[in-house]
């Protein structure tokens, strides 16, 4: 499971408040869609790479991993455009998406989850009027990021255990024999997790936070 995760460095990009980085990300998306010309899109892509590798000093592997994750999608989009419209549009679309994917990777790799979550909570603040607790939304996001790798790992373990006993781990049968035990494990885990949340005072969260979370 590869999620772009925080890469600790003391750079100015890391220190920039999460809200600004998310705003810049939004601005970049508007720009490359509003002005889809080759110089603008190439400039945006170049700027993202420079900010990521030089200013934020991220390892190239972080950006490469994200590129690899979307490579087939980009290839498919390019071929589709080349056939249906023209090569220039195809190139623009692919570069545009790549710029955004990499920009998102730079933001996630330079921003702590707590800081990102705090922004989401701030955006959700108006929902307090209808009784929603923004802190809860933030917790859900953080927990998703925490438990996705764990559940993926448990699925692997179940598959290994079945393969070790000569079971088939592919196809419909494999799906059934892994999904059912995984579901059971996840439900058990969810029960304990909810107890652990209670034990650490999840219910104590004040409706209005007294101070923003550290960035």
């Amino acid at each position: 499971m590869t999620l772009a995760l925080y890469v600790p460095r003391g750079t100015v990009v890391h220190r920039t408040p999460a809200g600004w980085k998310l705003l810049a990300l939004a601005g970049l998306s508007v720009l490359v869609f509003a002005v889809p010309t080759l110089p603008v899109v190439c400039g945006a892509l170049g700027a993202v790479v420079v900010v990521g590798l030089v200013v934020a000093r991220l390892p190239a592997a972080v950006l490469l991993r994200q590129t690899r994750a979307v490579r087939w999608m980009l290839v498919a989009i390019f071929i589709l455009h080349a056939v249906l419209t023209d090569v220039l549009t195809g190139t623009l679309t692919v570069l545009r998406l790549l710029a955004l994917v990499l920009a998102a990777a730079v933001v996630t790799a330079t921003t702590r989850v707590t800081a990102m979550v705090a922004v989401v909570e701030r955006i959700c603040r108006p929902l307090e009027w209808v009784g929603v607790r923004p802190a809860r939304i933030g917790l859900v996001i953080a927990m998703a990021l925490r438990f996705i790798p764990l559940i993926a790992e448990r699925a692997d373990r179940i598959r290994d255990a079945q393969a070790a006993r000569g079971g088939s781990v592919r196809g419909l049968r494999g799906l059934r024999t892994t999904v059912v035990p995984l579901l059971v494990q996840v439900l058990q885990l969810a029960h304990t997790v909810s107890e652990a949340l209670d034990a650490r005072g999840a219910d104590d969260v004040p409706l209005r936070r007294r101070d923003p979370r550290a960035t």
Partner: protein, 242 residues
């Protein structure tokens, strides 16, 4: 400090320890605990018993995760039925499976979680988290994803996440069951060094060395209660006759 939604002002008396009065608990029509009357004031208390004898249910009673079907549990004089938040601030809980207790993606964020819930200001939170991570040898992992830690490190993080909240008492439910020998010793030492009152449920009888009091559970009842030597002997005798 903050406005509480609980209306009655709790009057806590730390000298009272943990009291269980006429506790009986059922799941469906299955009786899992019965006739439990105890007063726990010792600093080191161990709980042993066969699988399914009710130890975990008992442990969960102590911080209000489980409320008894009949009878009552008082912590420092606070009833877990009516003052559950106060009780949970006083009684920390460490579970067997560290993976279920770590709820944030990175180590430092997770350690800070309970403090956020208590509304501790950011600066103090950071200082206390740094201190506790240092103490448990996790300082170098502060920004690492929690799922990359070893099993032992995960359990240390789970313990750190509870200790950072500075509860007056801590309940451990089989804290070493998933750990190797080295990490078991480490957790044993951590428990040994705690100033707080600790209640430890365990199948590892060595963990109970130096404890003040050990309870033996069998089929939901306390069948032996005394110093480690006599209780462990009673437990062994009980198991031999199975």
């Amino acid at each position: 400090m903050r406005l509480r939604r609980e209306t009655t002002a709790p009057v806590a008396d730390p000298a009272r320890g943990i009291e269980l009065r006429g506790v009986r608990h059922v799941y469906g029509d299955r009786v899992v605990l019965s006739e439990v009357d105890l007063h726990l004031t010792e600093r080191r208390i161990g709980i042993v018993g066969a699988n399914g004898s009710g130890k975990s249910t008992f442990a969960r009673l102590l911080n209000g995760l489980v409320v008894p079907a009949t009878g009552s549990v008082l912590v420092d004089g606070l009833d877990t039925r009516t003052h559950v938040r106060e009780v949970r601030r006083r009684v920390g809980f460490v579970f067997q499976d560290p993976d279920a207790q770590i709820v944030h993606p990175t180590v430092a964020e997770d350690a800070a979680y309970g403090l956020e819930n208590q509304g501790v200001p950011a600066a103090e939170r950071a200082a206390r988290v740094a201190e506790v991570l240092e103490r448990y040898g996790l300082a170098g992992h502060a920004d690492h994803p929690a799922h990359l830690l070893s099993g032992g490190q995960k359990q240390l993080l789970a313990i750190a996440g509870v200790l950072v909240m500075r509860p007056a008492r801590i309940v451990f439910d089989e804290p070493t069951t998933l750990l190797d020998l080295v990490n078991t010793r480490r957790v044993a030492q951590i428990i040994d060094e705690l100033d707080q009152q600790v209640v430890v449920v365990t199948h590892d009888l060595e963990l109970l060395d130096g404890f003040d009091r050990v309870l033996v559970f069998d089929a939901g009842r306390v069948v032996a209660d005394g110093p480690p030597d006599s209780s462990v002997a009673a437990y062994r005798a009980l198991m031999v006759h199975r």
